[in-house]
Symmetry: C2
Subunit: 185 residues, 2 copies
DNA sequence: CCTTCCGCTTGACAAAAATCAAGAAAATTT
DNA sequence: AAATTTTCTTGATTTTTGTCAAGCGGAAGG
């Protein structure tokens, strides 16, 4: 998997420009059930998921809440924790053997200093994350549980044979039983 | 209201740096019920709400969905439409007489070209927007309707005597009747 | 000042979803 | 392969929420 290619497509820049970033992303392996990040830590990685699946979740007094399932082709980090070096809100744990291309925070800081266009690329990246979240909120306030399931199934059909359904239920904001019944139809 | 001061606090920069941005933000008045933006347009403004209230909403086949209520102290734009010059998703309409400080897209482009730190400021701004959305999604999947109401009331108590409750209900993802009943307790 | 419109509340009922509990199915470990 | 754990499904019940309809009250406009 070629990070430069991914950068081209994600940030809409020329392949020659994207090549520059390639070298600082190092290959990393994340065994199943191992943690990429834990709540309270400072996130020091900005990674691209080359293969595998990860679960982003938080613990509350009552229950464990899954915020997102990440699969190959997505970038992975705790945005707020990484950018502002704050304590992380999320746990991030591998659901299966996962491989990453990882930029360390130190190398990231050098990009920020040395590459004038870097901040613009980052801005575009974060703006796209924002747009995803905006759409998700719109789905929560405008769609029924069943419509939200249909939406998710259209976007991530491959999750359904690889991710425990209870986690998907949590992402969709419903109980596992409700998801099971919706699927039965 | 001093835009430079707001920039200092929002982006965590020195007041002298912030002064530079001041001049390009022009004062603008938005009468009650007039539109800042309509779905499908290209958003050409990045504004700061000096006073008043606006409603960000979209039409669906079934109903009108209010995504957000903006009040004094917040920035106002359709992030995706402004940054990527795409057709806007949102309608934005003044709920009351509103005053803004507005940066035009043309001046914004000049900032992007001329000020090396501009993209970093923007990145921070968008990252904060992202963090807000992330929290809101977490609330949707982890809290009950009543807890979500309590949360909203804590954050925006002043909305409740100025914004029609049906709009707040929509922001919270519930029917006006349900909000009314939750409030009755 | 009166009328009209809009927003809010309330009640009755229907629909959707959560909860609790039991058992089946699948995956993992031994 | 058997045992154990985890995950998923299903049923019964309760709780929550949505829908429809009626009525109240205040604001806006004639």
């Amino acid at each position: 998997m070629d990070i430069a290619r991914v950068f081209c497509e994600t940030f809409n820049i020329a392949e020659t420009d994207a090549q520059k970033f390639n070298s600082k992303f190092v290959h990393e392996s994340l065994p199943k059930n191992s943690y990429f990040l834990r709540t309270g830590e400072r996130c020091s990685k900005f990674s691209f998921i080359a293969s595998g699946l990860v679960r982003v979740f938080a613990e509350t007094e009552k229950k464990e809440v899954t915020q997102w399932i990440g699969n190959a082709g997505y970038f992975l980090t705790d945005v707020s924790s990484f950018l502002f070096q704050q304590p992380a809100r999320w746990n991030i744990c591998a659901l299966s053997e996962t491989t990453l291309w990882t930029l360390s925070y130190d190398d990231y800081i050098h990009f920020e200093k040395d590459l004038p266009e870097w901040n613009m690329l980052e801005k575009r990246f974060v703006a796209k994350c924002f747009a995803m979240m905006e759409s998700r909120i719109f789905d929560f306030i405008s769609l029924s549980a069943e419509e939200r399931y249909a939406q998710y199934f259209k976007l991530f059909p491959h999750h359904f044979n690889q991710v425990p359904l209870q986690y998907i239920a949590s992402v969709l904001g419903m109980s596992p039983e409700t998801l099971s019944r919706i699927r039965a139809r």
